[in-house]
């Protein structure tokens, strides 16, 4: 199995497991799921990119999209607190 495929499989297993765990724990806020998935994505990437730096470079656009999403949820929460 190629490194990229291993990475996708690893990440998929991790987020499905953590998603189920959060669901069982009764977490309802989508932004919490999002933050957990983002952290897992970055940790998995760091683990796999030690073997191949180009994997990190290739996934940079996805990281940027993820971070924009995160910034959006944070901004929403800030507005919610302020109002």
């Amino acid at each position: 199995m190629r490194l990229v495929e291993r990475y996708v499989l690893f990440y998929a297993s991790v987020i499905v497991l953590s998603g189920l765990l959060l669901m069982v724990s009764g977490v309802k806020g989508i932004e919490i799921y999002y933050a957990v998935y983002l952290i897992e994505f970055l940790v998995a990437l760091e683990l796999f990119a030690s073997f191949r730096q180009s994997l990190g470079r290739n996934l940079r656009p996805i990281i940027i999209v993820f971070l924009f999403g995160f910034a959006y949820t944070v901004a929403q929460r800030i507005l919610q607190v302020l109002s």
């Binding site: 996708v8 998929a12 987020i15 499905v16 998603g19 998935y37 073997f51 996805i62």
Partner: protein, 353 residues
Amino acid sequence: MLYCDQCGKRIPDSLIEKLGQLDATEPHQERPVSNTAAGLAEAVQLGRSSDAASSSARVAGPSDSSAKSEAGTMARGQQMHYASAGAPPSMLAGRQRILGVSLVIFGVLIAVASTLIGADNLSGLGLASFLIGLLLVYLNSRPSFTPEVVEASLLSSLVNVERIMCELGPRSKAIYLRIADRLDVPMVFIPLEMNPVPPAGLTLTGEDRLLVVDSGDSHKTGLLLEAPGASLLALMEKELSLNFIDLGNEDFLNAIRSGMVDSLEVAAEVKGSVTNDGARLRIRDGALSSLSRSISRLAPNVASRLGCPVCSAAICATAKAVKKDVIVEEVTHQSGVHSVILRFGGGSADETS
């Protein structure tokens, strides 16, 4: 376009076709192929199925394109590979894309459904499905190349090196020169003088000529080439973000293993041992197995004296790590395994395996 290696004349296409038709009507038998125009044509028509055919066909005319003549063999090899693997890479990529798009749609549907029925905690799983799908679609949209494309792009240049070696070099042992600086490109020296015992410590740093002539020392007259695996080593170092020159004798074998097996996936397994006098490496073929096979068939001198790009990258890494000249004693490519025996040009190295 093919040329007779004896008279140098072009072999007419009609003759090749005629021979092909004759060959198709006659039952296929193993027979030696002579080094003539007819033999050459026959080798082409037989798809260079035997080593004898390919070695005789190698000394063709100036416009003989190895990639072109190899296309039949490669296509056949590809078909066999797909037959055993189940589906060609493009079909697998298509399936991955479909899976990715399905996961994205599934994720969106779950998120919408969870909002509608008020089950908020389900939206987390919907988000997970959406993200996995997005990742699959994105990774699939990046260009990737099959080993056959890599093989086709490399083979002609290596066959040219083979022709230069056949023309100029006797069967002397190649020497990978010591790398003193981290920015140095690994170079390999092939003495034109027969060298049963090559000199320890060549001082060829700063040389940028292809043909080095030293009237004082015949051992220092020869071909100076960039190692076939130099670029592969550079890529390996870039991917691992390390430089082999910084590694000790204990660490470089592990670094070669990570670089070739985990990072570049050009090998399935790397084993080796290092002693004071030399090193032995055993590399099991990975994705580029067909390239190694083609090189050992079409460029036997390059394969056995310099090593195929995979072996050569490992030798370059060794030369860089031990910081000594490395003499290639033996390189063999048999049944998917590359065996490399190296001797160091003096100095000391600790036993490692």
